[in-house]
């Protein structure tokens, strides 16, 4: 099983690195990180915060865009181009195909994030502003990309690429605003409303679990439980989403 998943993952990675979209996003990310230095000159006294904040935000946005725009085409693109026909005529299970595609994007995102992070760290090291906690912040961002990719793959099994990208981006935004659901729950008086808010709070992906940018940029302490919780959350939530994607794809008619 592993050899087949690895073969598909390797091919997916090969496809991604030969895709111009990836390079365009990467160039933009590197340009944005560099632009942070110019932007920091416009502020007085908070140059370091601006560079770090802008750099992490750039890695976040361009990583998410890579997850979404490559992730949504992983399965539906194969069906549309009918390349999946020859693959599934081989002795591979459909879940192996989904896992292989996901694995390929995991590797792509790792390379992508590493390149962006290295450039970011280099800029900070040259300026003498490097903080080792930034590595943890980037690692958690990578975990977030993995979760978003799993969601993109699920939508990719369910619907068209355009709808999948809209839904995945919507969940990314909602995932960072879940605290508002918690606030709403406190303000509601109806028990039905409170239960609905609580259910949504736990059902929707809580991407705040991966966000320690604020603490790192402002030099605030980080609770050691945060990275551990983020890891467990990724494994459990990500596995559930991928399991759903495999179940959907298992019964999908490939017209």
């Amino acid at each position: 099983m592993f050899a087949r998943v690895a073969a598909i993952a390797l091919n997916t990675f090969r496809e991604a690195i030969r895709n111009r979209i990836l390079y365009t996003l990467l160039v933009f990310a590197v340009a944005m990180i560099s632009f942070a230095q110019i932007l920091s000159l416009l502020t007085v006294g908070s140059e370091e915060k601006i560079i770090k904040d802008f750099g992490l935000a750039s890695i976040d946005i361009f990583g998410v865009l890579t997850s979404v725009f490559i992730g949504i085409g992983l399965v539906s693109g194969e069906i549309e181009r009918r390349t999946v026909y020859t693959l599934l005529a081989k002795p591979i299970h459909r879940f192996e195909f989904v896992l292989g595609k996901y694995g390929g994007l995991m590797i792509t995102l790792l390379v992508n994030t590493t390149v962006m992070a290295l450039w970011f760290f280099l800029v900070l090291i040259v300026k003498g502003m490097f903080d080792p906690r930034l590595v943890l912040a980037v690692l958690l961002l990578y975990f977030q990309f993995l979760l978003i990719t799993a969601i993109a793959v699920l939508f990719s099994c369910l619907s068209s690429p355009i709808l999948s990208s809209v839904l995945t981006l919507a969940l990314y935004i909602i995932g960072h605003l879940l605290w508002s659901l918690d606030l709403l729950k406190e303000k509601l008086t109806s028990p039905v409303g409170k239960t609905a808010c609580a259910a949504l709070y736990y059902l929707l992906p809580n991407l705040q679990n991966f966000d320690i940018k604020g603490q790192v940029v402002h030099g605030l302490p980080i609770d050691p439980a945060v990275p551990a919780f983020a890891t467990v959350y990724l494994v459990l939530y990500g596995s559930a989403v991928l399991l759903g994607a495999c179940a959907v794809f298992q019964n999908k008619e490939l017209q």
């Binding site: 091919n11 299970h93 490939l254």
Partner: protein, 320 residues
């Protein structure tokens, strides 16, 4: 022994705007024997590609069973013994021919040395020996068909299923594919292929199945299906001025060449005597026998008005 066995297969689709079911296949029962070349013929939209997708497991039947090598076709392990080429195949165009075949060989868990040997061997076999290092996006349609055939054979399969393998190929390409199919038979493999190019079918198939609007209309050896006796004769004559013939009728007249048709052997003899007497120069006498094409056209006449264009389109979409 039956290598591929479909029993009572039915398949329907619903169009986007309707809840009504439209049947693509109805109660299809078909059996492909070991070591034979089986041609699956039918017009566009007859249900050939649907049947093949069902056999491969890309779609699922509404009813009936499919068995391959005596086992349930849904068993993934069975595919180690199957090779498949889809119709108008689309492949990863960013890969080179060698990378593409190597990738498919990996899916069978072949070692690197074995992969390299098989890839080179197959590239030679399909006539792409010196094109393996080019990306597939630079391949012509004929070359894509050939590399597709190579990936179908990468596991040295016992059963090869090809969906319209001659489609879009020039005469040389068709001849090469035909030779590969015959070579597979010579090696004891079973080949099941769909086509609407009937001349190829008549040349190489041991048996054919004829699908018309989702129903198997005929199955068997070609000689058993089509009447081989002469149906009529066509006689071409030069220099015949008279429009009146003692028998038969004039089909066409171009300059001083007349093409006449007679129905029986006695009429033919009378016509030849008449021409001899009138001094007409005989150019040719051609006996017309029923062909597979005649049979298919006869069976296909009177398209089902209930069958919506969208359903026929679904089947025909790969042809365009």
């Amino acid at each position: 022994m039956a290598v591929l066995e479909l029993s009572g297969i039915s398949k329907s689709y619903r169009t986007h705007l309707s809840l009504r079911k439209y049947w693509i296949l109805r109660d299809l029962t078909l059996s492909v024997r070991e070591g034979e070349i089986f041609g699956f013929i039918g017009t566009n939209g007859a249900g050939k590609t649907t049947t093949i997708k069902l056999a491969i497991g890309l779609i699922f039947p509404d009813g009936g069973t499919i068995r391959i090598f005596g086992e349930d076709a849904r068993r993934v392990g069975l595919r180690r013994r199957i090779g498949f080429l889809p119709e108008n195949p689309y492949f990863y165009d960013y890969l080179t021919g060698v990378e593409f075949l190597d990738f498919h060989a990996r899916l069978f868990g072949l070692g690197s040395q074995e992969r390299r040997r098989r890839v080179q061997d197959l590239l030679e076999r399909v006539g792409l020996g010196n094109r393996g290092d080019r990306q597939l996006r630079h391949y012509s349609k004929g070359m894509l068909q050939r590399i597709g055939l190579a990936q179908a054979l990468i596991n040295d399969p016992d059963l090869v299923i090809l969906d319209e393998p001659m489609s879009g190929l020039d005469p040389i390409g068709r001849r090469e594919v035909r030779d590969i199919i015959l070579d597979l038979k010579a090696r004891g493999r079973t080949v099941f292929f769909s086509t609407h190019i009937l001349s190829d079918t008549e040349t190489i198939c041991d048996r054919v199945g004829m699908l018309v609007r989702g129903t198997l209309k005929a199955v068997g050896a070609i000689d058993d299906l089509v009447a081989r006796q002469v149906r009529f004769w066509e006689v071409a004559v030069r220099g015949l001025r008279d429009d009146h013939l003692p028998c038969g009728r004039i089909v066409s007249r171009r300059e001083d060449v007349v093409l006449a048709r007679v129905e029986t052997e006695d009429d033919l003899k009378r016509l030849l005597r008449f021409l001899d007497a009138r001094g007409g120069a005989l150019i040719s006498v051609t006996p017309a026998r029923e062909s597979l094409e005649d049979l298919l056209i006869r069976e296909s006449r009177g398209a089902d008005p209930e069958r919506p264009a969208e359903v026929r389109e679904r089947e025909a979409q790969h042809v365009r």
